[in-house]
């Protein structure tokens, strides 16, 4: 099916009445989402067919694993790969998979089965070491099998032998997850463990900056109070009653304080390490404890910490030694784990990793701009390497009041699969709930520790590039100190040969990791894609949301090495070339002036424009460097759904009886309406000046527009308006990795400016084309390419 979507006459574009585009463009972004929802939402999507395009990320449906990994785990930019590299070059469509190996599955879908082959361990192809999976072809009556990836013929181990039925399928096909499912887990043997020793259960270490600003803001007290309850919700295996995860506590300013909270102590013991130049762990026994056992000592400690430092006037902090200490502690305890660091300032104290304020706006839009995104010192890189080598994941909660050099400080977090949270000008009463919600979520997250991922492919193509919160020591092994349910790795593939159209393109992603309870496991995701020598097949099978994820990550990675201008140009020209190739080879002949978009890429231009307008790719001195570095880092580990929402926020007219999303454009706002916008990091409630008072009363419990204070939190009012708004917020918030803080933007007031940045179809606040302008520009490029 080919769609002849909006027809634009480039020469006249500016003279046309605006409303005309309005109707044309309206079809695009929102309609595509709504159409998919209408046709596939609420249904069961079975993964039994190779190369089928899954429902959009915005569409809710139940996914049934029938031989290929669920799109929750793997999404691809194209589900039908071009059969040759020439063809791939011609189409310019990136071939990539976005893998989220630990994605959360809704309760109505089956969790992963665990296969245990005992001491022999998982069955693997002798040559390419791929794991037993539905792509293995059993032959010779079931005595041998041919590897679907490298075609090597392997013997079936005797214990695994099974007869074949009349269609050549093993009779136990449906009894074994590894033969019939796209995703499953193996229990790993000692060979897969560090030093051939079974791993210890992981540990979480809480490291709290107790310098002056954090004490004064009340943050330390907030954290300590929260920890007393949140530690009851440490993640645990489904069948376990309590969590096996041990916890430890460190506070620090210019020096580090470790705490002994052994259960048999009457009171906690504090050990100060002031040798920050060569930091070390002063204790082993009693540092990492089971929270349930040491509850009274831990609570005693958490009560005391805010008191202990109440009179502090220490404002300098260290940072790298803190990570180092946490890592050494985990190393000494021989376990993997996570650090939770709560930090607020630029680490200026004399110590390794000391940072200075190097935020230089003059570098923006020059060839040296990339320096701002690179770490100040290489200590953080080597620290990251050590952390990864020791399975130490660093979660960083930043509470800056000014520049803190996120590019340097966030680096270890980025490389170790951790999450970076940033709360600017943190105020306990207004930002506390958001932070606590993030903290609770982060602590409770299902996680794989000390993980290593390997992506295997069938012959003809291979994984060439990886993007995400990962560390690569070589070209094939993706190392992650930890990988949680929100982290996605984007993998780019390239041809190295012709692909076979019959056998398709097969991908197996295997993640070796340590589970929450300290079991070594392998998580396997398999997906089969089609191959075709027809460009039309390729264009038909594309997924724009995945493409944007790839483009965003590759552009954000390129920032480290290339000037912004080049990156922007590449994005525009690649978009144009993808579309031109389609126009030339797949579309039916039509006037040159017509812009013809493939059905699957109808929304590509609008998304590319949004990406180009993201603050990372916009070099303007008004945008804080830290904010850009922060966004860059967040996007690098986002999955398809996250990038979709992040680049094109959802805008809902709350004032409507049944709010359906509208385009992010000022045109859609009305003075009498209330609009809700969310992008995964922020939420806005925009209020038109003539919003009906009953709506205002209903939501804010105040009589009029003028009474609404933008400082307050959203009150819980027992009223259908309030309930509706809050249920919408809850829904949007659910399954999002970051908690969003609601900002209230009243029309024609200061806060509205912030809100307007997110109206991505309009001309950007800091420059950046409107959607229409961008479309013209792309069209012009396409015309040039075609002529």
């Amino acid at each position: 099916k080919m769609v002849l979507a909006p027809v634009i006459f480039p020469n006249e574009i500016h003279s046309l009445p605006y409303s005309m585009f309005f109707s044309l463009l309206l079809i695009l972004q929102i309609q595509v989402i709504e159409n998919d929802k209408a046709s596939r939402g609420g249904q069961i999507y079975a993964t039994n067919i190779r190369g089928q395009v899954p429902p959009l990320v915005t569409t809710d449906c139940v996914i049934q694993d029938q031989g290929n990994a669920s799109p929750r785990y793997i999404r691809c930019t194209a589900y039908c790969f071009p059969s040759s590299s020439d063809m791939a070059k011609q189409a310019q469509i990136p071939l990539a998979a976005i893998i989220k190996p630990f994605a959360a599955v809704p309760p109505n879908e089956t969790p992963l089965y665990v296969v245990n082959h005992g001491e022999t361990g998982p069955i693997r192809c002798n040559r390419c070491k791929a794991y037993m999976c539905p792509f293995m072809q059993f032959i010779e009556g079931g005595r041998k099998y041919q590897c679907g990836f490298c075609n090597c013929i392997n013997d079936v181990p005797p214990f695994f032998f099974q007869h074949l039925d009349h269609i050549g399928r093993r009779t136990d096909h449906y009894e074994r997850p590894e033969l019939s499912l796209g995703s499953y887990e193996y229990v790993a043997t000692l060979d897969y463990c560090r030093n051939n020793k079974p791993p210890n259960s992981p540990a979480y270490i809480f490291m709290i900056d107790v310098s002056y600003s954090n004490i004064k803001s009340g943050l330390v007290k907030l954290i300590c109070n929260e920890l007393k309850t949140v530690l009851d919700n440490l993640p645990r295996e489904e069948q376990e009653e309590t969590s096996a995860i041990r916890v430890g506590f460190v506070t620090y300013n210019k020096v580090l304080h470790f705490f002994n909270v052994k259960s048999n102590l009457a009171q906690p013991q504090m050990m100060v390490v002031s040798d920050v130049g060569e930091v070390f762990v002063p204790l082993l026994d009693g540092f990492l404890v089971n929270f349930q056992e040491s509850r009274s000592v831990v609570n005693n400690l958490l009560d005391q910490i805010p008191e202990m430092f109440a009179d502090t006037n220490e404002s300098e902090t260290v940072f790298a030694p803190v990570i180092q200490a946490g890592m050494e502690a985990l190393k000494a305890a021989e376990c993997a784990g996570k650090l939770f660091i709560f930090h607020s300032s630029l680490p200026t104290a004399e110590a390794p990793g000391k940072l200075k304020n190097r935020d230089d706006k003059k570098l923006i839009n020059t060839d040296k701009e990339k320096i701002l995104f690179q770490p100040q010192t290489n200590i953080y890189e080597s620290l990251a390497r050590d952390c990864v080598a020791n399975g130490c994941c660093v979660n960083l909660f930043l509470f800056p009041n000014q520049y803190v050099d996120v590019a340097s400080m966030g680096l270890v977090t980025m490389y170790t699969g951790g999450t970076l949270y940033k709360y600017n000008n943190f105020q306990v009463h207004s930002d506390g709930p958001q932070f606590l919600s993030d903290l609770r979520k982060e602590i409770g997250k299902k996680t794989g520790f000390d993980a290593i991922m390997r992506v295997r492919t069938s012959t003809g193509f291979r994984a060439t590039d990886f993007f995400g919160a990962i560390y690569m020591n070589n070209t094939t092994d993706v190392e992650m100190a930890a990988v949680d349910c929100d982290k996605a790795i984007t993998v780019e593939f390239k041809h190295d040969d012709k692909l076979n159209e019959d056998s398709g393109a097969l991908i197996q992603c295997a993640v070796l990791y340590t589970s929450i309870s300290g079991q070594r496991r392998l998580r396997i995701h398999n997906i089969g894609l089609n191959c075709s020598s027809q460009l039309a097949d390729l264009y038909k099978s594309c997924e724009t949301d995945a493409l944007i994820n790839f483009f965003a990550k590759s552009a954000f990675k390129a920032i480290l090495s290339q000037p912004l201008k080049t990156i922007r140009e590449i994005l525009v020209s690649q978009t144009a070339r993808m579309l031109a190739c389609y126009r030339k080879n797949c579309a039916s002949p039509s006037a040159v002036s017509q812009l013809i978009l493939p059905d699957a890429m109808k929304v590509l231009p609008v998304y590319i424009n949004c990406l180009l307008k993201s603050c990372v790719l916009v070099g303007r001195p008004e945008i804080p460097t830290d904010e850009r570095a922060y966004h860059r880092q967040l996007v690098m580990s986002m999955d398809v759904a996250d990038t979709q929402l992040f680049f094109y926020p959802q805008l809902l007219p709350i004032s409507d009886a049944f709010p359906t999303a509208v385009r992010c454009s000022e045109e859609r706002l009305s003075e009498g309406g209330v609009f809700f916008l969310a992008n995964g990091l922020n939420m806005f409630l925009w209020l038109g000046v003539s919003t009906p008072p009953e709506l205002i009363q209903g939501i804010f419990n105040v009589p009029s527009f003028a009474h609404i204070s933008t400082e307050t939190l959203l009150p819980e009012v027992d009223n259908p308006y309030s309930k509706k708004l809050r249920s919408i917020m809850d829904y949007i918030q659910s399954n999002r990795p970051y908690s969003m803080k609601l900002l209230i933007a009243k029309q024609r007031e200061q806060a509205e400016m912030l809100f307007r940045q997110y109206l991505v179809e309009d001309k950007g606040l800091y420059g950046g084309a409107s959607y229409v302008d961008f479309l013209c520009c792309v069209h012009k490029e396409i015309c040039q390419l075609l002529s």
Binding site: V255, F258, L265, A266, Q267, P268, Q269, M270, M271, V272, V273, S274, D275, E278, F280, P282, L283, L284, D285, G286, N300, L301, Q304, E307, M308
Partner: protein, 767 residues
């Protein structure tokens, strides 16, 4: 006239001084011919119940190079209110306060009985004593428990105002903060990294941030407590806290795998202790008390690696230059000891372990600072517990028997110069007209620092007669020496004790018999022994023995009466008669013999030998032996194998050991249980008597001796057998007849053989 013996005793009791010669040869040449140098043992703080201190400043000679203290030997012109210094002959005006003096109204320091006098003086504000415990936690559970209890107990013995601190160490070093409530807090240091004093103080937060002085605003008087207060607190304030803290001390938690020694960071722990005090309380009386249960195994100052399969160095290794860590470790501890001494602090070492603990390397810490050294098998022994308790013993005035930060200055009349001192001191490098170029011991100075001393601390001080032969001293001329000891009393008062003595000069050619008669052979033996032990620390053992022998032969040649080449004619006068015997036992003593002793033991023995007073030193050289029998009251007997008889009980005191030895028959009777039968009550009394006597010694001795109760044929009997003169050995047993004594299985020469050789050499015209 009283005998010289009485004279010597009197002088010792009054002044705590004993000279090798009590009549001095008047010329340099003659003096050198006396063989035994002119020297004395000085016990600066000898307990004097009859000496109430005076509460004013001493009067000093006004000559800048002299500054001797006014003393009974000075000539006083009461009318002109002038006094002449007896050292430099400077005439001085009395200070105004002395306006009222006259022949009848004399100040104490001019009265002859106050040749030793003590002044209490005002010097700044008094600072409390400081006790810093440095505790090894790599101990067995039982040992640690015992140590913890001893430490807790000690808190009740400390003066309530004293400051106390705690450092513990194992793999890491922890400096405990004492002022915190609700949470126990400590600063932790890596055990492998040596830090400078500055770094330590920075890391402990002891350096005050520099507060910019605002113009026109005077500096605020110190309102906040001193910064060191986090680590050093008055006992009365934190004894509960510290008791709890000590109670909660755990063994070093770091795992020790099989075949390894625990990692023990003694070197860094001491360095931190020294650095902490250095920055906060320089020149204040302070004891760093190290309790260690094994050798340092890591970091600076490590003595042995952590592999158990490599044993700690032995004398054999040292001779073969196989002691890998010794030099480096010794250097580390020497540096620390010198810094500590410079700050006026002292380091005690309480080492309890079955194997060596590195005392050899660490000895200078105690030796140079006047600290105690104690060696035992376990902290869970009365040996340690009582020794430690005795550190805090009090004198008759209820004051601690410890003094701090002393400087000893010696002044001599111009015929004498000072060669050096041997004892628990370091040189202050004070050059002066009375400093000799010929050094004996720690020389080149007339002032020494003694960071810690007690009433028995004794220094040997060596002099040189510099008067030329052709400048005779007028008849009746006397030589004088003044000892000025300034110190911090345990009550934190500053005190100055001044002892001024004088001895007659005599012309050695015409009056040799006077000089001879005034020879103090006991102190001479100890003074020579100190020289020998001092040499043994740096020279090869055999060289020292040869030197001692040569001195002995020369002395015999000089003072013996004999016919040339006729050994049988050799005689020594009474004042010399015991001297060769002392030398015989000294040669066999653990101070000079390293055979059968570990390097640690040698260090321990030498440490004590170089600081004890005359009586104790003599016991160390020649242990005393008492015999108990039915035939009469206990009697001292010869330290000879012939004294070991079947029906006797022997009590031997070697200073380090108290041995009770039951003869063969006594042991059999005891086994048969006669002592429990009413009709043999006297046997019971006989058994009890040496026990009571031993108890008496045990109660006063510091350090507590090892107590051995043994009997004939028991392996422990070796303690006795190795000490007695082997007059009967398996070689000569039958030649000596039947019954008496018991043979010693040894190839050592007996006193008899030794004396025979000595006589032969002394009378030989060839030498």
């Amino acid at each position: 006239m009283a005998t010289y013996l009485e004279f010597i005793q009197q002088n010792e009791e009054r002044d705590g001084v004993r000279f090798s010669w009590n009549v001095w040869p008047s010329s340099r040449l003659e003096a050198t011919r006396m063989v035994v140098p002119l020297a004395c043992l000085l016990t600066p703080l000898k307990e004097r119940l009859d000496l109430p201190p005076v509460q004013y400043e001493p009067v000093l000679c006004s000559r800048q190079t002299c500054k001797a203290v006014l003393n009974p030997l000075c000539q006083v012109d009461y009318r002109a209110k002038l006094w002449a210094c007896n050292f430099c002959f400077q005439r001085n005006q009395f200070p105004p306060a002395y306006a009222g003096i006259s022949e009848i109204n004399q100040p104490a320091e001019l009265m002859p009985q106050f040749s030793t006098i003590e002044y209490i003086v005002q010097r700044g504000s008094p600072t409390p004593l400081i006790f810093l415990y440095v505790v090894d936690t790599c101990l067995e559970e039982e040992d640690l428990q015992a140590l913890k209890e001893s430490l807790q107990m000690s808190l009740s013995l400390l003066p309530p105002e004293a400051l106390v601190g705690l450092i513990t160490f194992g793999r890491m070093v922890q400096v405990h903060e004492l002022s915190c409530e609700g949470i126990s807090k400590s600063y932790v240091f890596r055990g492998t990294k040596d830090l400078t004093a500055k770094q330590i103080q920075d890391m402990l937060g002891l350096t005050r941030p520099v507060v910019p002085v605002q113009q026109g605003r005077p500096l605020q008087p110190q309102e906040q407590p001193p910064i060191s207060s986090r680590f050093l607190q008055p006992v009365h304030k934190i004894d509960m806290n510290l008791t709890d803290l000590l109670g909660e001390l755990q063994r070093d938690p770091w795992p020790v795998t099989q075949g390894k020694r625990p990692l023990r960071s003694t070197g860094v722990a001491l360095s931190i202790a020294v650095g902490l005090l250095e920055g906060t309380f320089p020149n204040t009386g302070a004891r760093i008390m190290l309790f260690t249960g094994g050798p340092p195994t890591q970091g600076p100052g490590m003595v042995v690696g952590d592999e158990l399969k490599t044993p700690i160095r032995s004398w054999h290794d040292i001779e073969k230059d196989n002691a890998r860590f010794m030099k480096k470790a010794t250097k580390h501890y020497e540096t620390l000891a010198n810094r500590t001494a410079a700050n006026g602090h002292c380091i005690d070492i309480y080492a309890c372990a079955l194997d060596q603990t590195g005392l050899l390397e660490m000895k200078c810490c105690a030796n140079l600072t006047g600290g105690h050294m104690m060696m035992g098998d376990s902290f869970n022994t009365s040996l340690f517990k009582q020794t430690f308790q005795r550190v805090f013993s009090k004198d008759f005035n209820g004051e601690f028997r410890m003094a701090f930060g002393a400087t000893l200055e010696v002044k001599t009349s111009r015929e004498l110069k000072i060669s050096g001192a041997i004892g628990p001191c370091i040189s202050l490098n004070a050059k002066g007209p009375c400093v000799s170029e010929n050094e004996l011991g720690i020389g080149g100075t007339c002032q020494w620092k003694i960071c810690s001393l007690d009433p028995s601390s004794t220094l040997a001080i060596y002099f040189e007669v510099v008067n030329q032969h052709n400048a005779p001293i007028p008849q009746g001329g006397r030589g004088a020496v003044q000892f000025v000891t300034q110190y911090q009393h345990s009550s934190t008062q500053r005190r100055i004790r001044v002892t001024t003595i004088a001895r007659n000069w005599a012309d050695a050619q015409s009056q040799l018999q006077h000089i001879e008669a005034a020879f103090d052979q006991e102190v001479a033996a100890v003074l020579m022994a100190r020289l020998g032990v001092y040499r043994a620390e740096s020279e090869e053992g055999p060289d020292v023995l040869r030197w001692l022998d040569r001195q002995l032969i020369r002395l015999c040649q000089k003072f013996g009466q004999y016919n040339k080449d006729d050994p049988n004619s050799f005689r020594l006068s009474d004042s010399f008669s015991l001297y060769p015997q002392f030398m015989f036992h000294l040669r066999r003593s653990p101070f000079l013999q390293v055979f059968n002793n570990s390097p640690d033991e040698s260090s321990f023995y030498r440490h004590h030998f170089s600081r004890q007073d005359l009586t104790q030193s003599l016991i160390m050289i020649q242990p005393i032996l008492y015999s108990y029998s039915f035939s009469g009251p206990p009697e001292p007997v010869l330290l000879d194998s012939s004294s070991i008889l079947a029906d006797r009980i022997l009590l031997m005191d070697t200073f380090f050991q108290i041995v009770i030895y039951h003869g063969e028959t006594i042991a059999q009777w005891q086994k048969a249980g006669y002592q429990d039968m009413p009709e043999y009550e006297n046997f019971k009394h006989l058994l009890q008597a040496p026990l009571d006597d031993a108890q008496e010694i045990l109660q006063t001795r510091f350090p507590m001796p090892r107590y051995i109760n043994t009997e004939h044929g028991s392996s422990q009997a070796r303690f006795l057998l190795s000490k007695v003169n082997p007059s009967q050995t398996h070689n000569n047993l039958y030649a000596w007849g039947q019954e008496s004594g018991s043979p010693i299985l040894t190839d050592d020469v007996s006193l008899q053989v030794f004396m025979d050789h000595l006589k032969k050499l002394a009378v030989s015209s060839a030498s």
